[in-house]
C-alpha cells in the first residue's frame, strides 16, 4: 500500500461513517427506509402518520397472505389503527403473535413520537380470500383507517416468498 496518508485517513473515516449507518439500520427500526410502500401524512389531530417499509411475501396461494409495514407517528398525540382494507382481498385482519400463536386484534395503538411495527414473526396483517395469488412484482393497494387521523393509502409491493427486509433480498 503506497497511498499517501490523506487517502488513508479518508478511508478510515469512511469506515466509521459506514459503522454509524449500520448501527442505525440495525436498531433504529425499518420505518424510515421509505423504499417500499407509499406514505402520506395526515396531521389534523396532532398525530402525524407516515407508512414505510411495506411488503407482502409472495404467498403460497390466494387463500392466505401476510403483509408487513411500519407506521411512524411524528406527532405528539397517539392514534390507533382501526382497519385495513384492500380491493385485492376479501378480508384483512390484524394479528399479534405470541410464541407460535397468533391472536387477532381489532386495533393497534400508534404511540406519539413512536412506531407501530408489523414484521415477520410479530404483528402482521393477514389477507384472506384474495382475488388471485399475488406474485412477486405485483402491488397491493391498501387503505389504512385510524381512530383520529384521516385514512392513508399504501402501495404494498409483493416481494419474494423469502424476502428479508433486513438484507433487502
Amino acid at each position: 500500500m503506497k497511498r499517501p496518508t490523506p487517502t488513508g485517513r479518508h478511508l478510515a473515516l469512511t469506515g466509521i461513517a459506514i459503522t454509524g449507518a449500520l448501527a442505525l439500520a440495525g436498531c433504529g427500526g425499518s420505518g424510515s427506509s421509505g423504499s417500499s410502500g407509499s406514505s402520506g401524512s395526515s396531521g389534523s389531530s396532532g398525530a402525524e402518520l407516515t407508512v414505510g417499509a411495506s411488503y407482502m411475501p409472495q404467498p403460497v396461494s390466494a387463500d392466505m397472505a401476510a403483509g408487513f409495514l411500519t407506521i411512524t407517528n411524528k406527532g405528539g398525540t397517539k392514534d390507533e389503527l382501526t382497519s385495513v382494507t384492500s380491493g385485492s382481498a376479501g378480508e384483512i385482519t390484524m394479528h399479534e403473535t405470541n410464541g407460535g400463536a397468533m391472536e387477532e386484534v381489532t386495533s393497534f395503538a400508534v404511540p406519539a413520537h413512536g412506531q407501530l411495527v408489523f414484521k415477520s414473526g410479530g404483528n402482521h396483517l393477514m389477507f384472506e380470500k384474495l382475488k388471485r395469488r399475488p406474485e412477486q412484482g405485483d402491488t397491493i393497494t391498501l387503505k389504512l383507517k385510524f381512530a383520529k387521523s384521516g385514512p392513508l393509502t399504501v402501495e404494498m409491493p409483493v416481494k419474494s416468498a423469502t424476502y428479508n427486509p433486513s438484507t433487502g433480498h
Binding site: M1, T19, L22, G26, V60, M64, G100, E104, A161, T162
Partner: protein
C-alpha cells in the same frame, strides 16, 4: 496509514456484531434445552444432548402411512411443526428451506428429507397439505394425523403446541405452530441442531451442506 484502515475495519466489525445482537433478541423465548457454549449470532444452536427422533407414524400427502423413523433413517432430515392456514412464519420457514435446498448439488438434494408436520390436522388433510407443499417444494413430506399423537411427538422435541381452537373474543379459528426447525443427523438419527424462526435463507444455505453430512454447522 495501514493501521488506520485496520482500525476502521475493526470498528466496522464491532458495529456489525452489535447489529446482530440487536436483531436476535427474539430468540430468547425459544425453549431451548441444553446448549453447548454460546453460539451468539449464529442461526444454528447445536445441542449437547441430541433429541431422539420422535416415533411418529402419521399419514402423508398421498394418504399413505408414513413411519417417520423408518422413512428417514440414515437421512439428513429437517422437521418443522406448522399449519397451512398460517400466513407468516410457516410458509416463510418452509420457503427458506426450499430456496436453500436448491443451492445443494442434485445428489445432496436427493438425500435431504424435509418433513412438515401439521399442528392443525382437522383442516390440514392430506390433500390440503399436498396442495400447499406443492406451492413450496413438491419433494417436501407433509404429515397429518391424530392431534394428540402429533402433540406428543412435538413435545419430545421441546416443542409445545396447542390444539386448534376458537378465539374467545373473535370466534375465529386459531392454530399454533412450532418455532423451531430441528435437523437430524444422517449418522446418528439424533436431532442435534435447532434453528429459530429468525433463521434466513442465507443461514440455511450456508449450513445445509454440513447438515447433509451430519456435521456441526
Amino acid at each position: 496509514m495501514r493501521k488506520k484502515t485496520f482500525a476502521a475495519a475493526a470498528l466496522l466489525a464491532a458495529a456489525t456484531l452489535t447489529l446482530s445482537a440487536c436483531g436476535s433478541g427474539d430468540d430468547a423465548k425459544s425453549p431451548v434445552t441444553v446448549v453447548s457454549g454460546d453460539t451468539s449470532n449464529k442461526a444454528a444452536t447445536i445441542l449437547d444432548t441430541p433429541f431422539e427422533k420422535p416415533d411418529l407414524v402419521l399419514t402423508d400427502t398421498h394418504g399413505a402411512k408414513y413411519d417417520l423413523r423408518a422413512a428417514t433413517k440414515g437421512r439428513p432430515t429437517l422437521i418443522y411443526f406448522g399449519y397451512t392456514h398460517c400466513p407468516d412464519v410457516c410458509p416463510l420457514t418452509m420457503n427458506n428451506l426450499a430456496v436453500a435446498k436448491k443451492a445443494l448439488s442434485k445428489a445432496d438434494q436427493a438425500k435431504l428429507r424435509v418433513v412438515f408436520v401439521t399442528t392443525d390436522p382437522a383442516r390440514d388433510t392430506p390433500a390440503e397439505l399436498g396442495k400447499w407443499l406443492k406451492g413450496i417444494d413438491p419433494s417436501f413430506v407433509g404429515l397429518t394425523g391424530d392431534f394428540a399423537t402429533i402433540q406428543a411427538g412435538a413435545r419430545t422435541l421441546g416443542i409445545s403446541i396447542e390444539p386448534t381452537h376458537k378465539d374467545k373474543k373473535t370466534g375465529k379459528v386459531v392454530s399454533v405452530h412450532g418455532t423451531q426447525v430441528i435437523a437430524f443427523s444422517p449418522k446418528t438419527d439424533g436431532g442435534y441442531v435447532l434453528y429459530g424462526e429468525n433463521a434466513t435463507v442465507d443461514d440455511y444455505t450456508k449450513d445445509l451442506p454440513k447438515l447433509i453430512k451430519g456435521e456441526n454447522p
